[in-house]
Each structure stands twice: as C-alpha cells, then as structure tokens.
Symmetry: C2
Subunit: 437 residues, 2 copies
C-alpha cells in the first residue's frame, strides 16, 4: 500500500446527489486515493435534519447540523445543498480558509459566479463545477481545457431532462403537454411544482454557466432570454413532425460578429430542429450539448442530464481533480472573463422562424400576408397553405405555414403583431424559431 497524504473532505448536503457522493467516496476510497494521489477522508456531512430519510446509509457520527467547524480546516469542501444561501456564505468561507471547492449548484453559479470565482482567484483556490451544467456529461472540462485554444462559435444544448422527457413523449405518442406532465410527475421525471423545469429557469441557469465559460464573459442570468415549453401543444408537435422537424427546448449560446465588434446572445426557448440533426435523436430525459468551434468543427456530448448517482459521478471527478491540485501545489486556474463580450438582447438576435397563421380563406389574403412580411423585412423561404374549413355559408378558414429566411427577432416580432392586427389573420397559431441548419 502506498502511504498517501490525507486530505480532509467536508460534504455540505446529503440529498439525492450528496448521499451518493458520500457512498461512493467510502465504497471506492482506495481506488480514488490511487487516482488522486491522496487519501480522501470524509470528515463530516452537514445536513439540515439528522433524522431525515436518505437514499443511502450514512454513518450517523459523520452527520452534523453545524457546517462552520467542518469547513474550517477542510482541504476540499463539496457543496451540494443547492439554493443561494447559506450555500454562498459557506463556499466563500471555504475559499477563504484555503480549501478548494466542488459544487453542483447551478442557481448559485448563474447568479453569484463572478463573486465566487473572484474570491477563489484572490487566494489561488480552485472551484470545480462539472455537475452544474449538464449532470454527468463532461462538458465543463472540454470547454475550459480541451477547447481553450479554439474559438467556440455556438452551443446548442438540451440541458434539462424533464422538458426533454415531456417533449419527446409528446412527439412520439402524439400526447398533449398536460397529460405527459401529469404522467412525468407520477413517474418522478417532473417535480410536483414543475415551474423551474417547464418554464426554462433551470435551462437558463445552465445556459448562463456554459456561455460564461465558452465566451470568457461573465453572463448575468438576466442576460439570458428565457421561454418555457408550456405553450407547446399537440398541434405544434404534429405540424413540426409533418415539416421534418422536432421541437426541443434549446439553450443557445452564440457568438455574433457585427460591424461594431463581437457580442454574444444567450437564450432558452422551444425551437424546431431538423430530424436529421444529432440533437433530434436525444430521447427521454437525456441531455446533449452540441458545440461548434472554429477549428474543432462540430462536437457533441451526450449523456444522462440528471439523477443522483450520475451527477455524483461528475462530483467525484471534480473531487479527484481538486485533490490532485491540492497535492501538486501551485495556484488554481481562475475562470477567464477577459473577453467580457456584450450580451445582446433577444430583439437583436437573428434566426429562422416558422409562423403558423389561420386566415380567412378569401382571394388576396396570401398577398396581404406576404406584403406585411415584406414590409417588415421578413423574407419568406417556404409557404404551405391548406384549407382547414371550407366556406359553407360562413367564411372559410385556411392555415398558412411560413418558413422564413434569417430575420431579426425585433422585426419578426413587430411583423407578427401587424399580421395579428391586419384583419385577414384570424389567429396566430404559433411562432417558433428554427435552429440547427
């Protein structure tokens, strides 16, 4: 047996991920020591309630409701409590007492990332957060290290398992959103209060983290445009399928190059992507991150987006990295925000759109619609008109599905308002962005 230096590891939180991390740390202790070059001594687990039921057996004597003494003197602090406070205070305390930090806390990093990275930078500590962006999928290291010599142009991620599960079932079964949501809740794929997932808040936090890393820019959470999937219905899904698309909740992080230099756009919304795109075949609660880089070309990272044991794998990888760094000495690698590109509002983003309208089935209507689009600087790529109710005493109704060329969101949005007010449009059925080609 090699005699290793011993590192004191403190765990904050013993929920689904925390209890798995504790179990794996104990189960694979010798193996982890060999890989880290240090013995990892789990010295304590801070919990809110000593008697709460847990997924795995944890030794009672390691549990404590008092995190402060644990943090002081720890070499590595693992924060898996979630939420902003007291997680933020504990992480800053850990950094300032000389520990390296491992966290899976996307809400905290998306809102207080710069403060935490700055504090770490001041004392030469490192903060690891592989589990914060896409569960078990290794995406942080590829972005931070492997692509450090490249320029990321675009990231399109399916980064929320719950919404992908719901949309995938809607697509495959032709079901309605509310039915699949209820079923997903019953099966444990969605929370009792599904707001964070279905309204895109979770995906927006991950988008902010990915964009910050990819573009070396501190992206504030309120710089992320966010739309959820609650408006996606069976009709939209059917129409998407008919047109060769599938609807996915995408986190899009994009580098824009204009006359006034570079900027970035970060946005989360349900979008149409072509069936043959690699992201279209990401099923169930899986996640995938598609990265386009200047030199590397197209890359995709695929795996489980959530789950206690899957996320624990990412946390353990970070713990081994933190231990290696602690042993190797030297200072940690800070997060680079040197580019600090401006984040543009959604109105200035350019994409393709698919607009579905119900119109009066009368002569001249298509000409009117086409005229409004043209005036609004929205160029038509494809049109499909079908009669959905024959005129039969009362006026007939037709459906027009318009695929646009790339248009500016602001122009598109104003144009849709003008269409809605035009008198010939009965109803704007849907407006969806098209990504991925």
């Amino acid at each position: 047996m090699t005699e290793y230096r011993r590192l004191r590891v403190a765990l904050l939180g013993a929920g689904a991920v925390g209890s798995q991390v504790a179990a794996l740390l104990r189960k694979h202790g010798d193996e982890l020591a060999d890989r880290a070059g240090a013995a990892l001594d789990l010295v304590g687990i801070a919990v809110r309630d000593l008697d709460a039921p847990r997924d795995t057996d944890l030794p009672r004597e390691l549990l404590t409701t008092d995190p402060e003494p644990l943090i002081v003197g720890a070499d590595i602090v693992i924060e898996l409590m979630g939420g902003i406070e007291p997680a933020r205070t504990h992480i800053l305390a850990a950094i300032n007492s000389g520990a390296d930090v491992v966290t899976a806390n996307k809400a905290l990093l998306a809102t207080h990332g710069p403060e935490i990275f700055e504090a770490a930078d001041q004392v030469g500590a490192s903060v690891y957060y592989e589990a914060a962006a896409a569960g078990a999928i290794p995406i942080i290291r590829p972005l931070r290290d492997s692509l450090a010599g490249d320029r990321v142009q675009r990231i399109m991620g399916i980064v929320n398992g719950t919404t992908n599960y719901i949309l995938d079932r809607m697509d495959r079964e032709g079901s309605e959103f509310s039915d699949v949501l209820a079923d997903a809740q019953a099966l444990g794929y969605a929370e009792a209060d599904p707001t964070a997932d279905v309204e895109g808040y979770d995906a927006a936090q991950k988008a902010a983290i990915l964009a910050s890393l990819a573009f070396h820019t501190a992206v504030p959470l309120d710089g992320v445009h966010r739309e959820g999937i609650t408006s996606v219905d069976k009709q939209m899904m059917d129409a998407a399928r008919h047109a060769g698309y599938v609807i996915k909740l995408l986190a899009v992080c994009e580098r824009l190059t204009g006359a006034d230099g570079e900027s970035i756009s970060v946005r989360v919304y349900p979008a149409l992507i072509p069936r043959e795109h690699p992201l279209a075949s990401v099923h169930g609660a899986n996640n995938a991150v598609f990265v386009q880089a200047e030199a590397a070309g197209d890359l995709m990272f695929y795996g489980a987006g959530a789950g206690g044991v899957q996320t624990a794998s990412a946390v353990l990888g970070d713990i081994v990295s933190a231990a290696r760094r602690h042993i190797a000495g030297g200072v940690g690698v800070g997060e680079s925000t040197r580019a600090n590109l401006p984040v543009v509002p959604i109105g200035r983003v350019t994409t393709r759109y698919q607009i579905t309208l119900e119109v009066d089935d009368e002569p001249g209507v298509l000409a009117t619609v086409a005229g409004i689009l043209s005036e609004g600087r929205v160029s038509i790529a494809t049109v499909e008109q079908t009669v959905i109710r024959e005129s039969n005493g009362e006026p007939g109704v037709a459906r027009i599905v318009i695929g646009t060329h790339k248009a500016v969101e602001q122009d598109l949005s104003e144009t849709v308002d003008r269409l809605a007010a035009s008198g010939v449009v009965e109803r704007v059925v849907s407006v969806l962005r098209v990504e991925g080609n």
Copy 2:
C-alpha cells in the same frame, strides 16, 4: 495589456497538423495568452526539409532542421512529427530538460507510452495527448479527469474516420468495398496505402491508449486483438441492414469480472450494431466514443476524428493546459497504471455473434447445424433460413443466418471450424460479432 510571463514553445513537425498549430498560435496569440496566463512564444519549428510545400505560410526564420537546440530551453515541446523515432528520443530529451510535452503521436504512445509517462513522472513533467485518440473530440480529459471518480465498464469507439467513411458509404449506397476505397482515395479520405486504416492498425493504437487511460493499466499494443474491414462486402452489409444492424469498425475496451478477479479485453473488429444505437448514426468520416461508466451511465462524445485544423484544436487545448501548469507550478499529474489489470486474449472474450452459412437444402441439415452449435456451447437466439437455389437436378442451397446468445470466442471459433468441416455446410459466409445491446 496584462504583462504575462513568456513561455518558450518549440514545435517539432510542420505537416498538416503542425502547420495549422503554428498558424493558430500566431493568429490567436493574444487570446491564447489570456487563457493560458502566459505568452506563448513560438521559438522554432523543426522540419525535415526547409523547402517542402506547406498548408500555411510559416515564417522562414522559425524553421530549422536541427531540433536539439530548440528542445533545450523550451518550456513546452509540441511533437507532431509522428512515427517512433526520432520522436521518442526528442520527447524524452524534452522531458529531461524540464519541458512539458504535447503530442498527437498515437503510434508512439501505444508502443512506448509507459516509458514516456514514467520519464515524465520522474521529473514531475506532464504529457498531454488529447489529439492522439480521436482527433478533435475531447475524450482524454473526460476519461482522465471527469470520470476519475467513476469506474469505466466499457468503451465502444468509432475511432478511425477512413473506415467509417468507407463502411458508411457501403451501407448507404450498397457499394462494394473496393469501389468505395478507390473513391475515398481519390477524394483524400483514404491514403494511397490504406493499410494502417483498413486493417485496423490505427484504431488498435487508439484503443490501446483509451484502454490504458480508462482502466489504469498499461495496455501493450500486442494485447489489442485487431481485425480490419477488408473482408466486409456488399452481401454482409445488405444482410446487416436486413436484420436491423449496421456494420462499424469498433474499438471495444471492456472490463471483465470473473471468479479470479478483474481483467480487461481490448479489441478492434468490424461488428454489427443495432440501427437505433447512438453509434449507428455516426456518418461519414466522423468519430464517436461511447462510454459506459458505473455511476455516470452512458455517455457519448462525437466529432471530427481527423483533419489538420480539427486536430490542431485539440493540440492547442493541450498547449494552453501545459502553459497553465507551467505557470501554476507544482508537479504534473502522472498517468495512473495502478490497477494494471491483466489483458485477456480474444479467445476468452464473450459476445453475441451472427453466423451466416450456406448449406445443402436437404432434410435434417438444420438439426445437424443446431446439434454442432449446442455441442460447442453456443446457444442459438434467432435463426432465419431461406432457400437461395432450388434443388433442380443438382442439390439446392439454403442460407442460414444464426444469431447467438453470448458465447465465448474460443468456443465459437472452434464450433465454426466444426460447422465448416461438417459436410452439410457448403460455405461459412460470415461470422460477425454483435455489439451494443
């Protein structure tokens, strides 16, 4: 402008990858300096021929035919010469003079990896080789760092772009191997001498590197079982398609658990994989590595497997990592071979098989075939028999396609020999392993 410490970078080799690395180092110098925390001064490029034509313009004054003075005094040495010697000698000299090393040399690492990693370990240097395993796909860091706290069970990789391009076209177009190969050569997807690719040598080197890393075991190249794709013909492709499979050249690295402890198997061969498996949709010259880990579950990494500029992206990521480590101080992370699991020969490997036979179309033949399989401890899962030539004066011929349950390679191979010698089998058309379910 931040004033950075300057690091001396020496480049050995200016071929397709090397010339792109040199160009990107110069083009993105400021950006790379910000990311690395150090200015990267390209102090020289060692080449064989000063006047050889190159893909990019390189400053003549940086070129030299004498690598030794370059290596001495460099902080980072980038070896992109390829081949065993003099690359090995130069890398060892670089390590011993205190440099960190970046290399894309899979042939060297697959044969002399342990010697090189041992030398680096002795002096606390690091060796980076992200570009050696699957081109631009970040797979080394995920295996070494992200999954460091997990246990990899299995890797299935499409790690050779040329063979995937050929098999994909054979599958899509129904073409013959030789026709597609000739076309691939004309288009630059295959070399004039395609042996290294089509016989699986390139894939075997990458398999040895991936298995060494994933299983913390020094896997010698001759421990890798290797079969190429030259025997794959249109008929096999058609039969695979008919049965819901596609044929891919796979590098399989597998952890085996037996009564006498753990061992590993590393093998490269054309195998049937189900159409719905994520690896089945890897088209063209792309690569993908599918990883199954105990905690993380299924992960897949996808991207361009080759190409000068794509591979250069991986090399630059390594250069930035090497620079950060050089600046941070401390010692490098050695390659862990602490597990040193035995590598089992192909005969002890267990997989499913698909056996295609042409037999006499006579009563009792299927019973004879089934009897031989049963005696050979090969259990039948599926059988499909079709008459391919009616008995018409001369004896008829039937084709039998047998899908087996998991069987031991040694048993299977002996059983196939017995089938061939049985008198009822006219011809063993093909024996293919089935992977991925």
